[in-house]
């Protein structure tokens, strides 16, 4: 495990079992800082389950997860909450803005539960997603695309180490999908680590690596080409096996210094 420090996320042989349903079976996944990963797979293949475990909203039945060098084994829900607060940014398909708070206040809620409220910073975050003029609007006064951008601003406001997006464009049209992908691209350029669950090959194409789940197992990983190689990676350590990583390699030094997003 000498490579721990070079991976921001290590998932080792986890399973999630709901009675007779095995939502995840022996899944392993390693993610390097600054990587942009897309997770695909048919409905019910365990994508959301995996995201919940990575996002510290849930724990695996078996196996271990190491997030930024910190093992999540046997942590209580309260401890997981603390880690989630500090390290994870979440984006959902249904946006989930608080209906009675303005766009700005919705961003500030994340600050409030994280540490201190800073209205100026929250406004800047909205500016970055192009919504400075919508700050005082309530969610119902915003379009779906605008709501999702507020969610992104909220997810990024505390500089998470990892941005998790479960079908962020599932409810959006192409134009808004494009806007959201632009924001993710600029985040990626700044060295942010991004994991996106999507059904859309176009969205997945923006990522530099695609993992496909089927029946709770990793069916393919574009980084490895085949599933068996995951175990090779685990034993041999991770070094570039594919040509696609030249761009990512160039990014990573910056990330290591920044230690976070934005």
């Amino acid at each position: 495990m000498s490579q721990q420090s070079s991976n921001i996320l290590e998932i080792v042989d986890i399973s999630k079992i709901y009675g007779p349903v095995k939502a995840l079976q022996n899944v392993s996944l390693y993610v390097r800082p600054g990587e942009w990963l897309a997770i695909m797979g048919p409905s019910g293949s365990g994508k959301t389950t995996l995201m919940n475990i990575i996002g510290c909203l849930d724990s695996p039945s078996l196996g271990r997860v190491v997030l930024d060098g910190l093992s999540l084994d046997s942590l209580s829900a309260a401890e997981l909450t603390t880690i989630r607060r500090e390290s994870i940014g979440l984006i959902f398909q249904q946006f989930h803005l608080i209906s009675y708070l303005t766009a700005l206040e919705n961003v500030m809620v994340a600050q409030y539960y994280h540490s201190l409220v800073d209205e100026k910073e929250a406004l800047e975050a909205l500016e970055q997603v192009g919504l400075a003029d919508r700050a005082k609007h309530l969610p119902r006064q915003l379009s779906g695309g605008e709501q999702q951008r507020v969610c992104i601003a909220r997810a990024l406001i505390n500089h998470p180490k990892l941005l998790l997006a479960d079908e962020p464009t599932g409810n959006l049209d192409e134009t808004n999908e494009g806007l959201v992908m632009d924001i993710l691209h600029s985040l990626h350029r700044q060295g942010g680590t991004i994991i996106v669950v999507t059904h859309s090959p176009e969205v997945a194409a923006h990522a530099e690596r695609t993992v496909v789940l089927e029946h709770g197992r990793v069916a393919s990983d574009s980084k490895l080409g085949a599933q068996e190689k995951i175990f090779d990676q685990a034993s041999q350590g991770v070094e570039g096996l594919e040509g696609t990583k030249s761009a990512k390699e160039a990014d990573s030094p910056i990330v290591e210094k920044a230690g976070g997003i934005g």
Binding site: F92, H96, I98, M108, A110, Y112
Partner: protein, 471 residues
């Protein structure tokens, strides 16, 4: 930020919180009204019971036949006419032989007719003031705490009619036995709330005016007024010494010393009624039998009864010494009123508790629905790093604020409601009791906290993963 969220939730989800406020308000208004009435009316009656009050009513034999009728009429009409109406209608037992005369005298009730009443009427319908000292000379004389005579007329101040009653405020009597006795209404009506000194028989031109009468006549302490038997007629001028509040129908009356009223009514040396307050032994089987039919007692039983301070034996002894009167016990009425009151209070408390339980159930439903509806929002807050405690505090604050707003409104409505009940049921205003406020605050807290418990449990158990991905 906490306050921003609180404010946002409160101001932008007005309807839900208004429903909670309304529910609490409804409960609190009913509870406030009921408790207010309970405390106040309870106080009034208890005061009357505690301060001996009158427990014997002495009336002339002739009047006693119709006295119940008069009382009904007195209470039915706002300006009780017991005075001159009683005087003129006193002729009715005689007048029964002469229907035209009786109807004439009762229709022209005010004054003129009464002056023509015959000597027999006077003897039958009045008690001589000079005989009253004998009440203090019966076997149980020392049990007679206080007594006071009354003579009432229906007077007019300008065009406004108002009952005027003459009485002893503080009469000094020197008995033939050599005993010196002070008695009068001041001791008899010890629960009256006076805004000045009590009445004094040595100042016959100064009167005590009931609160409602003072309002009606626009009188204040120190003001002078002239009262006459006919509207606008010549009369007697009095000065208002003190304004009192009795909590009962006496509030609509004026009380003066006996002498000037006797003079005004042309009934020198006569009274209509005497109230006696006596310390008595609780009734038992013997007393009840004696009250029903004294003849049924054996000699020994009769002696025992006579020598015990039963209310019936004291009444009997007063009738013995004053042959022209009938004595009625009024304590038993008061006692049963007391019993009814206690039962009513118990019922009110039960009803209040039931009301509160209903409110708590309703709140519980509303809050649970509210939390369920907001489960996604709550899951999101948890996902953003909020603790269960933090969210509980937020939700509870919302509910408590809504509850207290509702509670305050409910309290005010309840006050109005209790006045309405007081006026329509008890015929008097209900004093605002401050005890109701802490009780109300406690009720609001209890109801809203208990009502929120199930919702809070659900809130704490809620897992963000179950609500955030819209399965």
């Amino acid at each position: 930020m906490f306050f921003k969220m609180l404010l946002g939730a409160l101001s932008r989800q007005k309807r839900k919180h208004l429903m909670i406020a309304f529910t609490v308000g409804l409960g609190v208004s009913l509870a406030t009204a009921m408790l207010g009435v309970m405390f106040d009316v309870g106080d009034k009656v208890n005061q009357e019971l505690k301060s001996y009050g009158a427990n014997l009513s002495v009336i002339p034999k002739g009047a006693s036949i119709l006295s119940d009728l008069y009382r009904f009429q007195d209470e039915g009409q706002t300006n009780g006419e017991s005075g001159s109406a009683g005087t003129s209608r006193a002729g009715s037992p005689i007048g029964a032989n002469d229907p035209s005369g009786s109807s004439a005298s009762s229709s022209s009730s005010s004054s003129a007719g009464s002056n023509q009443a015959g000597a027999a009427d006077v003897a039958n319908n009045f008690i001589p003031e000079s005989e009253l000292y004998k009440i203090k000379m019966i076997f149980w004389a020392y049990n007679i705490v206080d007594f006071a005579p009354y003579l009432s007329i229906d007077g007019f101040v300008g065009e406004t009619s108002v009952p005027l009653t003459g009485t002893w405020f503080n009469k000094h009597l020197s008995l033939p036995t050599g005993d010196e006795v002070d008695t009068g209404m001041t001791g008899l009506k010890s629960w009256w709330v006076l805004d000045g000194p009590p009445g004094d028989d040595s100042e016959p031109n100064e009167v005590l005016v009931g609160k409602e009468a003072a309002q009606k006549l626009n009188l204040t302490k120190g003001s002078q007024f002239t009262i006459s038997l006919k509207p606008g007629g010549e009369g007697m001028t009095f000065t208002v010494k003190t304004i009192f509040e009795s909590g009962g129908e006496d509030d609509g009356k004026i009380f003066a010393s006996l002498a000037p009223v006797q003079e005004l009514a042309d009934r020198k040396g006569l009274v209509q009624r005497v109230e006696v307050s006596a310390l008595t032994t609780p009734e038992n089987e013997l007393a009840r039998r004696a009250a029903q039919n004294p003849g049924s007692l054996t000699r020994l039983e009769w002696d025992t009864w006579y020598c015990t301070a039963y209310i019936s034996s004291i009444a009997y002894q007063i009738e013995e010494i004053l042959p022209m009167v009938r004595v009625k016990a009024i304590l038993r009425v008061a006692q049963s009123e007391g019993a009814i009151l206690e039962k009513t209070q118990l019922m009110i408390i039960l009803l209040t508790v039931l009301t509160l339980i209903c409110s708590a159930l309703a709140i519980s439903n509303l809050v649970t629905a509210n939390v369920m509806e907001r489960s996604v929002e709550i899951g999101l807050m948890k996902a953003l790093g909020a603790t269960g405690l933090g969210i509980s505090v937020l939700v509870l604050s919302e509910i408590l604020i809504a509850s207290f707003v509702g509670g305050l409104a409910g309290y005010l409505v309840g006050l109005a409601l209790s006045q309405l009940i007081g006026l329509s049921v008890f015929g008097s205003h209900v004093a605002i009791k401050l005890v109701v406020i802490p009780i109300g605050v406690l009720m609001v807290l209890l109801v809203s906290l208990l009502g929120s418990l199930p919702a809070l449990r659900a809130l704490l158990r809620l897992k963000p993963t179950e609500v955030l991905h819209g399965r």
